[in-house]
Amino acid sequence: MTKKISIIEKVQNANDLLAAEIQAQLQQAGLFSLNLMASPGAGKTSVIEKTLAELIPLYNIAAIDGDIATSIDADRASNAGATAVQINTGGQCHIDANMLKIALGEFELDNFDLLLVENVGNLICPASFKLGTDKNVLIASIPEGDDKPYKYPGMYQDVDALIINKTDLLPYVDFDMDYFKQGVQMLNPDLLTFPISCKTGEGIQSWTNWVIGQIKATKSS
């Protein structure tokens, strides 16, 4: 005889619970943490390098770099002064809470002020896997095109801040900033936005000032 069992359990529940554990662990350690997400080639690692160049003289910084293969990104973060660990996801298109939890075991978290998690380059999957970091940041870039918020709404709707990288290319590509911003506004009203160029350094200071403010606020809370 068939029996119906009511469940109503979020499919991502196991990941979400682990993310909540990570959040508590990071808060306990008193460091500020960022999950950086973007499509491949948007400039995640370049943003990390620029951020490190500004902040390494001031803070101890840990970096966790997620990629399907290689340790290229962790090597770049390490060369820029961070204590870096690479996660090779072995084909998985995102970092999930379990992978991050394991990678965090490599660090003495109390010794750090800032944790930068570089997610796998992908505009779809990382949005579905909470990590427990303080803030989720999306890095868009000018050559990707102005239609990305419309095509990847899941990515844009839940982030806490948006970096628009490669602004130095605006004169050379057809990118309608008003159309792009309209899409962002519809999904995430009044989203904190930093237009930057890792190439020229434009806007980097404003971004790093925000990060510094967040580190200080985390320390004093």
């Binding site: 119906k4 991502q12 419309y150 899409g183 506004q185 519809m186």
Partner: protein
């Protein structure tokens, strides 16, 4: 691609509830997927037979209930949906300020067991 992980989690949740209710087999799973949830039901279905093999979920039918996205305009309180899956300003007052009311859901609603 993340549907592989997600399918594993669906099997885990269903198996846990099935065993708790002393099920011999799970025959049906009812999933609720919001239009904005980035989960493709065809991909879940694709992985299902592989992942459910040798569990009490083996052979179970998947049923997907899709919840269309619903938005609330923050200027004029008008409620509206996507047109052909495309995001548009409020059709009533053209405002870009809106809140997502529905469409982000993704949960296992119920199962049938024998």
């Amino acid at each position: 691609m993340h549907e592989l992980t997600i399918t594993e989690q669906i099997v885990e949740i269903a198996t846990r509830h099935g065993e708790k209710n002393e099920a011999e087999k799970i025959t049906d799973l009812y999933l609720v997927i919001g239009e904005l949830s980035t989960v493709i039901d065809d991909s879940v279905q694709f992985y299902w037979d592989l992942i459910a093999e040798n569990t009490i979920c083996e052979g179970a039918n998947l049923h997907f209930k899709r919840i269309p996205a619903k938005f609330l305009c923050l200027e004029c309180d008008h409620e509206f949906r996507l047109v052909d899956g495309e995001l548009t300003p409020c059709p009533h007052c053209q405002s870009n300020r809106m809140e997502i009311l529905e469409g982000k859901e993704f949960h296992l609603d119920s199962i049938n067991i024998v």
